[in-house]
Symmetry: C2
Subunit: 637 residues, 2 copies
């Protein structure tokens, strides 16, 4: 981005078998200095589809995004399901690396020195930087005042760009006209300009503010801005490079090369069968019928659904925003349910939520979003939650972090719990770029600090998802020890503790290091494949499902991986990430839940988070260190 | 504070020889959990006069304040010169430990649950908490609305207290009437109520907002709120306990016990002679004539005076705010110069700055304050700086952090560099408690994050003082490696690098680990004695001076310390502090300067901070680890 150049590179030998999180974390760890400022020139953004993404393997349209996180200060991988990813796969693009930063002609801190100099001086600088002479001339004509000339030049140089990718190549185009626009509107206009069928990745107003709670947004099936690699603030990293959108058109793409068709087809069938057999993922099953939000009632009944900034684990009103209630409303209103997030998904947990009159489609209201913007803020009304979710998608912020931020703001006195109207106003503060907006756009921990709130539910600076670790200890172990900060997807212990998938475990049992570690390894591996995390339900219970996944990988890569390689590969990815974090200054003291959860009892279970530090340290303890010099075939994929 | 109780304790055997920083850091390290939230119930504030403080040893009226810092997340010792400290010494109070937190009757997060309950329910809670029945009754009469009843009760419970200490004992009094008042006004009223001669320690409006840039304020010789243990946010820690002021009256105090009068008198004479002989500290010498601000011209000429948020090391306009210019103005206006910060100081570097007509005495404008609020913000006008300094003192914030915060805000676009009026308005935002104020009150790093500024001059979250580490490397080594965050007083390499005190060193030479380490040890030891840091100039050059200090310590303690013990004692204090930080999650990655200083060349020297990480790690490297089990007489003092 500093040179406004686009270059293609062959995939290095070492990276041939990598994909998704395996590839993003490997590139970030080897190319980004762990001690760099996340918004400074040395950070990078890496986007990579999974290994099988772009094929017709079921539910495999995930994209991973990596970089150093402005929210956690550590390495970050966030992923999303979107046709954008499949298009990259079909174009045989293994990764996009966005590096460099549009250089300011005149650093802001030299204003007062420069404005004392002559216009000639400014022109000299401009010339030295090889700027377009005509632009300078126009600037001079338009601006009599030297100071505004400087500002004008700076703004031009800092303008936002769009990376357009087709089968014929890639180029950077001016995208300044979409700056400071909501993403729903911007995506509509981008589709008008570049075609209905293009895939779009973009960052919103919040990222332009360089807020630490900003995601990368991807198009949904209808082209809307509703699919997010949301967590960890990578949106701001992309915006700080000067890149606002990536538009991809896969017309005439060669498709994913498959080295062993037989293995691939066999694997695809096994996985499809498993997904269609398992109760959680089958057609008419829990996810298909009610979406992820089916968890509201389940987790509430387990007394683990955090209410009002993690001050209770249960509230009877929660059922008003359950997946069951929502599915009924969607049917009444004429929304869509079920619905895939990308072509070829057979789980189809998604949906299109609409207003009571059927207007203003939002996209999906996920369990995490419903919880964060709902019960965690004392809000038990789906229409309010829908509007809050729409505002998050439009601004380009992560709903989990946003809901936690609003809840902390409520605890800090900016609103009463339950006041949905005020919650919406708070999000509008971000849109307006007010000082309050600048606080909120930086997430829950930042907001808590601004307001003097000591009860802040974060790990490594990232806010907790929708499961109370005091009532469900294993997920707390994952929150504490994931290299990503508090992240349920990094090792979804809920599956075993609550749903009985992959075995059973008492939620209140504190010995959860093994469970969390195994799940963290499995997830890291899965995040590399491009398969949706929800395939995990089926493959944890049905051995042929996992075999199927491995066979499709062998099909695409021409390798001979076995199911036994999966945890090893996952471990290697985690260790690469932990090494980065260590070099960035993380220690075991960062693998802890917030202090208040160890002191405050959570009603109605009246439990504290009583997992000993030693148990937490066992998850990635020294005895779990990776093998030196991984053997052939055991590199991360 | 949770029980509103005051208890006296005998000094434990182990702590008999400790004082000042040696005592505060020892207590904090042994009683405060390193992983606690700085504003939560488990943090403590410890105040301790130095070992000789309260005697007539020259320039020995320092007080140390310790706790876990909300700014750095590590241990903090900040100190000030004030008669308050001497009064504690004369009352034979070795330390004040403020612990516990006023418990809220109803946690904020239970509002919405509670307001759905009956008044009876609220009364039950109140009864359970043993609150004053009459108060509850009054509350009920005054408030028809249940919600405001809850709020009213909470406010009463959260009200601020005042700790009054006399020779007859100590008690906690209601101090709510001084809440949300400026400190100049509050100190006037407190003197009216408790007497002209009392010593006062207090925290301001900014601390009530629980901002991370908030200091503990002590009275100057005229009783004004101008002497600060400013750095690291301990003001918010005190406010979050519920304590607003400590008022001490030493009438009838027994005085400091001196175990060996002969040693004490001999030491006092040697130190006095050294101070009166050395060019920096003697009557009519640099500090006495011009105060600390004498450094403006010296450091500017060395091209190490940071300008406009550390974007240059020199600006010819700096001389307008030099100590020489200021001394002349003070004389013209009828201010006071020289002036001691506490009775018995023979250096007398202080002063009383006034407006052009002689009104509105501010107190001293120190070099650090003048620089931070002046050149670092592009402001070169003493009257503007005086007003900014007065506002900081009145709000209860540290001037170094405040000046850096304003400069970062200017870089982030909240004001133009040089705009003094706007800078004053920004401080007023804090007074008003606006969202902008809530950002600014949390310091430079927080403000930079809110505004998306990547050039933030902080170490461990604490902003840099008035010396450019790219032009003067040794002070950069201290900034990076001090357990306190960026702190010039922890190891004042400027003495050697610029002033030729304690030897000579080329400012651009990068081998500065030994210099910084030796100075950090010497300083930590000195901070335990109660002597002003400025005695260091004399004792570094005149061996009898250091002998004198050690003899006065032996005089008070009845020990037989020698000058060789001084670095060992200093090392032990530093190691206690570093152990705390390690347990709080600090690593060598925290012992680094900000990234931009390694990338950006500083005009006019065009130097980067090129001290290798290995040199930084040598300062407190493993080979420098403290002896196990310190021998008798070698404990920190």
């Amino acid at each position: 981005m500093d040179k406004l150049e686009v270059n293609y590179e062959d995939v290095p030998e070492d990276y041939q078998t990598l994909g998704g999180r395996g590839l993003t974390s490997t590139i970030v760890a080897s190319e980004v200095p762990p001690d760099c400022h996340p918004l400074g020139p040395n950070n990078k953004i890496v986007l990579a589809p999974g290994i099988v993404t772009g094929t017709d393997a079921p539910s495999s349209g995930r994209i991973s995004v990596g970089g150093k996180s402005p929210l956690t200060g550590g390495i970050k991988e966030a992923n999303a399901g979107t046709s954008f990813s499949q298009m990259l796969g079909r174009l045989q693009i293994k990764a996009i690396v966005i590096q460099g930063q549009r250089k300011r002609v005149i650093p802001a801190h030299d204003y007062d020195a420069l404005v004392r100099e002559s216009v000639d001086e400014v022109k000299k600088v401009v010339k030295k930087e090889k700027l377009d002479a005509e632009r300078v001339l126009r600037a001079e004509r338009a601006n009599k005042n030297r100071k505004s000339l400087v500002k004008w030049l700076e703004n031009r140089i800092e303008g936002y760009y769009l990376l357009k990718i087709t089968k014929d190549g890639a180029e950077l185009l001016d995208a300044s006209e979409w700056s400071e626009k909501g993403l729903y509107e911007a995506y509509d206009e981008l589709h008008e300009e570049f075609g209905e069928k293009v895939g779009i990745c973009g960052v919103g107003i919040a990222a332009e503010m360089l807020g630490a709670n900003t995601g990368l947004c991807f198009n949904d099936l209808e082209g809307r801005s509703s699919r997010y690699a949301g967590r960890g603030g990578l949106g701001a990293v992309m915006a700080s490079r000067g890149l606002k959108f990536i538009v991809v058109n896969d017309e005439g793409a060669p498709g994913v090369e498959i080295k062993d068709e037989e293995a691939f087809e066999s694997g695809k069938k096994k996985l499809t069968d498993a997904l269609q057999e398992h109760d959680v993922t089958k057609p008419g099953g829990a996810l298909n019928s009610y979406g992820t939000d089916v968890l509201i009632n389940i987790i509430n009944e387990a007394h683990g659904l955090p209410q009002r900034n993690f001050s209770s684990g249960y509230d009877e009103r929660s059922s008003k925003v359950s997946g069951e209630a929502k599915a009924e409303e969607i049917k009444k209103r004429g929304g869509t349910r079920p619905h895939p997030c990308h072509p070829g998904c057979i789980i189809q947990c998604s949906e299109i939520w609409v207003k009571p009159d059927g207007s203003d489609p939002v996209g999906v209201l996920e369990y995490e979003s419903v919880w964060a913007l709902g019960p965690n803020c004392g809000i038990y009304d789906l229409d309010t939650i829908g509007e809050l979710n729409r505002a998050c998608d439009d601004l380009g912020i992560d709903t989990i972090e946003a809901g936690n931020t609003i809840a902390v703001a409520m605890e800090g006195g900016l609103a009463e719990f339950g006041d949905g109207e005020k919650a919406l106003e708070l999000l509008e503060e971000i849109r307006k770029g007010t000082p309050t907006g600048r606080i909120l756009v930086n997430g829950a921990e930042f907001t808590g600090k601004a307001l003097g709130v000591a009860r802040i539910p974060t790990v490594k600076g990232q806010a907790l998802p929708a499961y109370e670790p005091r009532a469900i200890k294993g997920i707390g172990v994952t929150y504490a020890t994931s290299p990503m900060g508090a992240d349920h997807t990094s090792g979804y212990a809920i599956a075993t503790e609550i749903m009985g998938v992959g075995g059973e475990a008492d939620p209140l049992d504190t010995e959860k290091a093994d469970l969390s570690r195994n799940l963290q390894y499995a997830t890291a591996a899965l995040d590399a494949t491009g398969y949706c995390l929800f395939t995990a339900f089926a493959i944890l219970d049905i051995p042929e499902g996992l075999e199927g996944i491995v066979e499709t990988l062998n099909g695409v890569l021409g390798t001979d991986l076995t199911v036994d390689d999966v945890p090893t590969v996952g471990q290697q990815i985690i260790e690469i990430e932990r090494e980065f974090n260590k070099a960035a200054g993380f220690t075991k003291e960062d693998d802890r839940l917030p202090e208040f959860m160890k002191m405050e009892e959570l009603p109605p279970t009246n439990e504290t988070f009583n997992v000993p530090d030693e148990e937490l340290d066992k998850v990635h303890g020294p005895e779990e260190a990776p093998e030196e010099a991984p053997e052939e075939g055991l590199r991360p994929f």
